[in-house]
């Protein structure tokens, strides 16, 4: 066993994916397009391009054939995630698909060692690992990030993931392949955080190339900045090397990278087509020693309109994907087109969450609404005052199960009370609760009145892009009006306007996606106001994030949860972590701050039937880092490995 213990990972499963590289080291194969370049003397032979211990991947189905392209679609100008879905983020470690994301595996680091108390992490890079320009990838590149970028005052603030317990991580360079990260406290969540795209930067910047933008390494910086029309080295760094988390990652074709495909036709402002080509130095091989990826080229077309993207799929030009395509409204059209384009529906599932997550603003500026929303009875009345079964029947063709939120039953994090309380449709009980709150007066339209004489009316913010949310809200609105005498208005605007309003705490209520897993690396914004997604307690989050300097101090029960939340990342084993989380959930379930409608049911994208090594189902990408499918093992199962025609 080559693997080392990864805190509370489940190492037993790892072996199925990886065989000892020593068995095959002598006999690597490469794609024909690269073999031609090697023969022409433009590229070193494959043995020299691969590290001494390449990552060996056993593909989901079979060893593949080299060749041809995969086509996909991009939605608009900030869909860089779509590209990263294909290449993977490629950090030091990765989350393990096969253990349902409850463990991590090494990736760019060939080996990871964790101290007993989970405070010291030792990473060993692969010897002979090279960037896409053929220069070695070493700890010098990692050091460049930790010493010159992360801690540079111009780059403040430092992500809180690097500051567990309030102390900055300590970087120790040991040799060309080895470095250590040391934390002041036990940090059990660290590898999961590290597997997340947000902590990719340590292995993202090639020092030789990116240091051209750094004041410490470039003596001519001022002149370079002027020549490039830039005002700060930070902007210059982004224009050269991009940011691993946004569009700029794909904007410069010259940036050396470690990804399976490298960008050839860039995703810059207004691009209509993006092309990626295989990285001749990619560090992974299959079990027969064939260097990955199998597919030569990825071709993405950019669509400004989601309907255009759908048409691209219907035309057979979207070979595999679900992002921006998986809306239930698209499914009949995709299903109808599938036989014609040689494709099938492809399931995208979630391991937890609700179809919509309904959050009243508990820190509302208006004192009367604030008081009303903070009455648990009011929230319970709303939750029991509409018929979830009918919402599911009407808006989801009956495909749903009433659910308040939280991970599903098969998840170890599942919490029954949190997910299933107050689901029953009980208009009489709900009305009794509302009467009990002193809302028994009604106006001529039958709307209940608050003590001040104002009607019980509020506006829920949503966005035009989420038509399924609007549909569900419409049914809820009708039920509340009819059964409770509560007037909800639906305000569907542009996403940025919605977020702007919420940021200013000007919203009455909001709905958003209800994905939840409570797994490491994900803030549980429903359990406590710990992220900007906690729209039910904007001011409380502000108070938490600014250490009490701004915002409003939350009530005692919320404060307790926040204190517990700070303990979560430090837990050193899964059971301890789960224990703390469930303490928070017990408290949150009693508080019942927000509610859901139905379980988040699987959505469907599309997959060409001739494409191999695609796992039968994919978890939704907004919950898990992309690239988990190992898209670089995909290939076309046709006679010559060529892509079948778009339409048959």
């Amino acid at each position: 066993m080559l693997r080392r213990k990864l805190t509370w990972a489940a190492p037993a499963v790892v072996g199925t994916l990886v065989i000892s590289p020593l068995a095959i080291a002598a006999d690597y194969q490469e794609a024909p397009m690269l073999a031609d370049l090697v023969a022409a003397g433009e590229l070193p032979p494959v043995e020299e391009r691969l590290p001494d211990n390449p990552e060996v991947v056993v593909a989901h189905e079979s060893v593949g054939k080299y060749g041809d392209e995969i086509r996909f679609g991009l939605s608009g100008y900030s869909d860089h995630e779509q590209i990263t879905n294909w290449t993977g983020h490629n950090g030091l470690v990765q989350v393990d698909y096969d253990t349902n994301y409850s463990s991590t595996l090494p990736l760019l680091a060939g080996e990871v060692d964790v101290s007993e108390d989970a405070s010291v992490y030792t990473f060993t890079l692969r010897k002979g690992h090279k960037w896409s320009d053929g220069t070695p990838f070493t700890t010098a590149d990692v050091a460049f990030y930790f010493e010159d970028i992360l801690t540079h005052p111009d780059m403040a603030p430092i992500r809180k993931e690097w500051l567990p317990g309030g102390e900055l991580v300590e970087f120790k360079l040991i040799d060309e392949q080895t470095f250590q990260l040391e934390f002041a406290v036990s940090y059990g969540d660290f590898l999961f955080e590290l597997a997340h795209p947000k902590l990719v930067p340590p292995v993202y910047y090639q020092k030789a190339y990116c240091s051209k933008a750094h004041p410490k390494y470039n003596d001519n910086l001022e002149a370079d900045l002027q020549a490039n029309n830039m005002s700060s080295w930070r902007d210059y760094l982004i224009s050269l090397c991009g940011d691993s988390l946004n569009n700029t990652r794909w904007a410069n074709v010259e940036r050396p990278s470690l990804d399976p495909w490298i960008i050839k036709e860039p995703y810059t402002g207004g691009a209509t087509q993006v092309v990626l080509e295989r990285n001749p130095y990619f560090f992974q091989v299959d079990e027969e020693g064939k260097q990955l990826p199998y597919i030569d080229r990825l071709v993405g077309s950019v669509f400004s309109d989601p309907q255009g993207l759908l048409l691209h799929a219907i035309a057979g030009n979207y070979d595999f994907g679900f992002r921006k395509l998986e809306s239930a409204a698209n499914r009949p059209a995709l299903a109808e087109a599938a036989p014609r384009i040689g494709a099938e529906l492809y399931e995208v599932s979630s391991i937890g969450g609700a179809s919509i997550w309904f959050q009243l603003n508990l820190t509302h500026k208006d004192p009367e609404l604030n008081a009303l929303f903070n009455e648990k009875d009011f929230r319970v009345a709303l939750s029991t005052g509409f018929d979830r079964e009918e919402v599911i029947e009407v808006t989801m063709l009956g495909q749903g199960v009433p659910w308040q939120g939280g991970p599903f039953e098969d998840s170890p994090m599942h919490h029954s009370q949190y997910s299933t309380q107050y689901l029953e449709f009980d208009p009489d009980g709900a009305n009794a609760l509302l009467d009990g709150l002193g809302l028994s007066e009604r106006n001529s339209d039958g709307i209940r009145l608050m003590p001040s004489g104002q009607p019980v009316a509020f506006t829920v913010e949503t966005t035009v892009a989420k038509d399924d949310h609007i549909d569900q809200l419409e049914v809820m609105r009708a039920h509340w009006l009819e059964h409770l005498g509560v007037d909800m208005r639906i305000n569907a605007t542009e996403r940025a306007l919605m977020f702007g309003k919420i940021e200013n705490n000007d919203h009455d209520a909001a709905v958003w996606d209800g994905n939840t897993s409570w797994l490491p690396g994900r803030p549980a914004s429903g359990l406590a106001p710990v992220s900007v997604s906690s729209r039910w307690g904007v001011e409380w989050y502000l108070w938490y994030a600014s250490n009490g300097e701004r915002g409003q101090e939350p009530p005692e029960n919320v404060k307790q949860r926040l204190e517990l939340w700070d303990q979560v990342p430090l837990a050193t084993n899964f059971d301890d972590r789960r224990e703390i989380i469930h303490q928070i959930v017990d408290n949150a379930a009693d508080h019942f701050a927000h509610f859901g409608v139905s379980k988040l049911m699987p959505n469907y994208g599309i997959k060409k039937t001739a494409m191999r090594n695609v796992k039968p189902s994919n978890p939704s990408t907004s919950q898990y880092p992309p690239g988990i499918q190992r898209t670089w093992t995909f290939y076309w199962d046709t006679e010559d490995g060529q892509r079948p025609p778009s339409q048959q």
């Binding site: 063709l397 009956g398 009708a478 542009e494 702007g500």
Partner: protein
């Protein structure tokens, strides 16, 4: 005609005369008829214009009594009737082996595919939905005043449903929704057009007739308004609207503001015409004759721009109705539960509707009919008001 310097009326070339003007009026009556009567006489003979007027009046009538004309509640969801195709009204009923004349539709049963979410319908031969005029259905409060339950067309059994124009993704009756849409589309949009029209004519007229400082100031205002790009303006507006206004109120406000910006085109054209007409002989003659300025503007110059104004109005109406779909595209249009033709078309503008429910585009035909009706009505008015058109030739 009161204007002294107008040329004789018999100048129209033969091939340009009115095809319907072959009914010769007694010339003696014409000599003494008032201008309003002359216009009416002329208008009455324009058959298409009369038809247009009838359609417009009918649409307004429907708009006033939507609750009565719509068979069902336009907001009523029905999970077993999703994307229900339109049903043909049938008269001959031989269900019991016999033969009877009863208005009905054949009932349909839904077949759903839970994976692909495709629905299809099979005709249910055993069940028919019988329909009658002036039947009883949902109760409603007409104009929020009168409690009623009589509908123009309704199923005999109030629990049954029929779909003359099919149903939408939530199983709502498209026919009822289209009828309800008439109210907003035939009111708010028209108010917007009217505002633009009044401002455009007045400011354009002043600018063109007087010139000088008035012209310069108005032109600068127009320039700023024209140059100011519309999309950011809309976005700013939608964010600025108070959320406690009702959806209709908000949309009305947006319409008013749009029309406060939208008069510029008309004003520029009217100005252009005034510039060229104010030096014409007949205007000079009127001026020398001592006519007051308003009289010159409104009696002499303005009538010669009628054609353009009528056309501009008949073009502005569909633009206003459809502006809503464009606004909705930007997330600024009418929000549910408000219903208008534009909002209905916006809901329908996706691939799913093309695949599963082409009947959702029905409101588009209503827009077309309304537009044509307004246009022919406008044509008739223009011809009738045209001092040069040969009357009774």
């Amino acid at each position: 005609m009161s204007s002294q310097d107008l040329p004789a009326q018999d100048i129209g070339p033969k091939d340009l005369t009115h095809p319907t003007s072959d009914v010769v009026e007694d010339p003696r009556h014409l000599d003494t008829a008032s201008q309003g009567r002359l216009i009416w006489l002329s208008f009455r003979k324009h058959r298409l214009a009369m038809a247009g007027a009838a359609v417009v009046l009918f649409l307004f009538f429907v708009a006033v009594f939507v609750e009565f004309f719509a068979p069902f509640d336009p907001h009523e969801f029905n999970s077993t009737k999703i994307f229900h195709p339109p049903q043909m009204l049938k008269l001959v009923d031989n269900s019991d082996g016999g033969f009877a004349i009863r208005l009905h539709v054949n009932s349909m049963k839904i077949v759903r595919d839970p994976l692909t979410l495709q629905v299809s319908y099979e005709e249910d031969l055993d069940e028919k939905v019988y329909i009658r005029f002036f039947g009883r259905g949902d109760t409603y409060r007409l104009w929020n005043l009168f409690e009623m339950d009589i509908h123009f067309i309704a199923p005999v059994d109030p629990d049954q449903r029929f779909f003359l124009l099919g149903s939408d993704r939530l199983g709502r009756d498209v026919f009822s929704r289209t009828v309800f849409g008439t109210r907003l589309s035939m009111s708010i949009g028209l108010v917007g057009v009217a505002i633009s029209l009044v401002i455009g004519i007045i400011l354009g007229g002043i600018s063109g007739y007087f010139g000088g400082i008035a012209d310069a100031v108005i032109q600068r205002i127009i320039e700023v308004l024209i140059v100011l790009p519309s999309i950011p303006l809309w976005m700013g507006l939608s964010a600025a609207m108070p959320t406690d206004w009702s959806v209709v109120m908000r949309y009305f406000a947006i319409t008013v503001i749009l029309s406060l910006v939208g008069w510029t085109e008309l004003a520029r054209v009217v100005r252009g015409r005034f510039l060229s007409l104010r030096s014409e002989d007949f205007v000079t003659a009127a001026r020398l004759d001592g006519s007051s300025r308003p009289r010159i503007i409104f009696r002499h110059i303005l009538p010669s721009t009628y054609s353009y104004i009528v056309t501009a109005v008949s073009l502005a109406i569909p633009a206003m109705i459809l502006a809503e779909t464009a606004l909705s595209f930007l997330g600024l249009g009418l929000l549910p539960p408000a219903i208008s033709w534009g909002a209905l078309l916006f809901e329908a503008q996706n691939i799913r509707s093309i695949v599963a429910g082409p009947w959702l585009f029905a409101p588009g035909f209503l827009v077309l009919i309304a537009v044509l009706a307004f246009n022919f009505l406008g044509d008739g008015l223009r011809d009738a008001a045209d001092p040069y058109a040969a009357l009774g030739e």
